[in-house]
Amino acid sequence: MIIVAFVSFSLFNFVGDPVNNMVGQEASDERREEIRDKLGINDPIYIQFFNFVGNSVQGNFGISYQLKRPVSVLIAERMPATLELVFVSALLAIISGVILGVYTGINRDTFLSNVILVISLAGVSLPTFIIGIMLIYLFSVILGVLPSFGRGEVTDIGFWSTGFLTMSGLKALILPSVTLSLFQMTYVIRLVRAEMMEILQTDYIKFAKARGIKKKIINYKHALKNGLIPVITITGINIGTLIAFSIITETVFQWPGMGSLFINAVYFVDIPIMSAYMIMVAFIFVMINFIVDITYYFIDPRIRIKEENS
């Protein structure tokens, strides 16, 4: 975390001068200098860094240069949108990924399996924004069935604004979440497929077959269960990636989440928002890794057994 804080912080010293974006072209040099002083940009870098770390530990990320509102409030406003998007995409990726992965793993070399694999290849190789724009043109411009941007109507539940409770909110969720999940879905399909193929060759499956256990039970109870363990690890870690990927998806669909906030901040050299966002994402990454490690311990008996033996 400290390293991320340091790297992100030192990057911002090279992104240019925020003051030029803050004041009009009419501003005098004295006024520019005055603002720099106020923002603390003129302090030596190590002092700036200590101030920054000290403040962010207390949850105080400063005030946005452009919007002139506290960054923590801005991020809290934007977080529900991003988390809902990421949640739905992760769900989509896992469910459809596992189903398709199992299918292609069991029915190798059938026509449908090949079609799924070819399409999933497109999912990895096409950049997110192209997929997003293609979906928009198909479903919004040509078919006119889904909205091309925004989050639809949202309902406020306490501090959390949700799009799950209205029809337009759910409709607006479809295109961005599909776009965002495609890459992960491909990943899961291929992983599950490889695992299934490998496990179906193992001795205990062969033995089960020999015992005459039904194919269905072998496939779904014995093989899939074992195949899912690495999937959980990988998808857990990838949720962090989804949050990072959502920057692009949010920009394409004008999704009012943290990613679009960050992009706007980059455009205006709004350092407080940029650094807060980086720290947040790093924090989420670390937390998810931690949680995944723990769940791994509970899910995979081998880890527990090994420890008990030693």
Binding site: N20, V23, E26, A27, V73, V141, S260
Partner: protein
Amino acid sequence: MDWLLNFYGGNNMKKSLSVVLSLLFIGIFSPVYANTLKWSMPGDSLTLDPHAQNEGPTHMVSRQVYEGLVTHDIGMNIQPQLATSWENTDPETWIFKIREGVTFHDGSALTASDAAFSIIRAKTDPSDMVDLIKSIKSAKAIDDLTLEIKTEGPNPILLNQLVQIFIMSESWAKANGCEVSYNWDAGETSYCASAANGTGPFKITLREQDVRTIFKRNKSWWGDQSQHNIDTIELLPIKNDATRIAALLSGEIDYTNVVPVQDLERIAASSAHKINQVAQNRTIFFGMDQGSAELFSSNVKGKNPFADKRVRLAMYHALDMDAIKDKVMRGQSFPAGIITAPGVNGYTKAHDTRLPYDPELSKKLLAEAGYPDGFEVTLDCPNDRYVNDEAICVAAIGMFAKIGVKVSLDAKTKSIHFKEVKEGDPNPSDMYMLGWGVPTYDSHYVYSYLLASDGSWNKVNFSDARVDELTAAMGVETDIAKRNELIAEAWDIVQDNVPYLPLHHQVVNQASKSNVDVHARINNEPLFYFANVN
């Protein structure tokens, strides 16, 4: 109504209910037909506080809600707004008569002390308008409907500057804790940043920053209500160009004032949409450092090639702006011969005629100046500020190569580019691209920043004693005819000296549904109180 619909719940129910109910209401109150205009641009207003940001989209939103003492009409001529008339009792004193019977959206009446309060607020730090109106010394209400403004020395462009100063309600601002536009030290959000109380033709009823802003017609507006038929404006910012155009084509938005060049043909091909075009108040040009003893990036040492006017002319004749217009700008530019836009006081068509494209003449001029084999120099260019900025630089470099001048490109993001140009950090810029808009619509602005020896953006180090004199004189001369003569003389000198290489005026492109009429203006600011949905 809403409680009723919510009470019955269910979306389909809601829809059919609202259809039934609206039919019912049409029956009762006909002919009531609400016109909604959905407007989109890449960014949102940064704040509803009218003095906190001197920035395009922020003013575009404020302009629908707030008004100034005077304003620009569609053709950018000064018109009375909250002031009905004005006079100079002496060159430094202005007396404004405030319009009678104007009320703010909260119902309170507009008085001269509101105007005085707003001007003082706008010229008090941390307002972002401080620099624009720094010539104003004092503003005070003489009686309820008379305002007196005193300036530091005569200021002939005061009215142009006052267009950008919106008038707020003094009591409302004070009651809500926003006497100043923002308090950096307190670190608190000011109420006036997310709520507005102006006198304008629309009032804001819903504000979700970056997501949706809803404006409703102000039924008690003092102006002519019949010149527009808009009941509701919905501002829906969409940053991504492709998505914004898709939303326009799919009918989710009605109008956008920012259209990328590459999508113009597509929109024009759609029978349900149309495009509106006008030259923008922004001219793109190259600057060449002609004042320094030696160029930083050149292979010529001990002297500065750009100091020689023949070299500057050679660079000028080498540029084929028609080719750049066709190939780089897809027809979306007006090649320029002057570094200021049409519509600015002092602009003439004669000055805006380019010298011919003539690379042979360029070579001859270079040889005469002592550089028969050309020289090397670096061109600094932004890559995210102007339309196709980097592509223009790349094309120009190819053209300079034809006359033997070897230009290398240094393209980077705007925040670094402008810092380098302005402060020479990390390296001084020998040659750079800059675009200049003129918010006051007067040449003096161009002179005081770009051409006077002490101009803060005069980074070509152009210096001419007579131009300095004229710049000072046009800043104080209040006799319009005399002042225009000064401006004309100054332009003659500048055009003869070629301190900058003018490239082109950018173009404002707006797109809307065919039945929506919004005028395109050179500052790209829509005036919805002149807009109609047919």
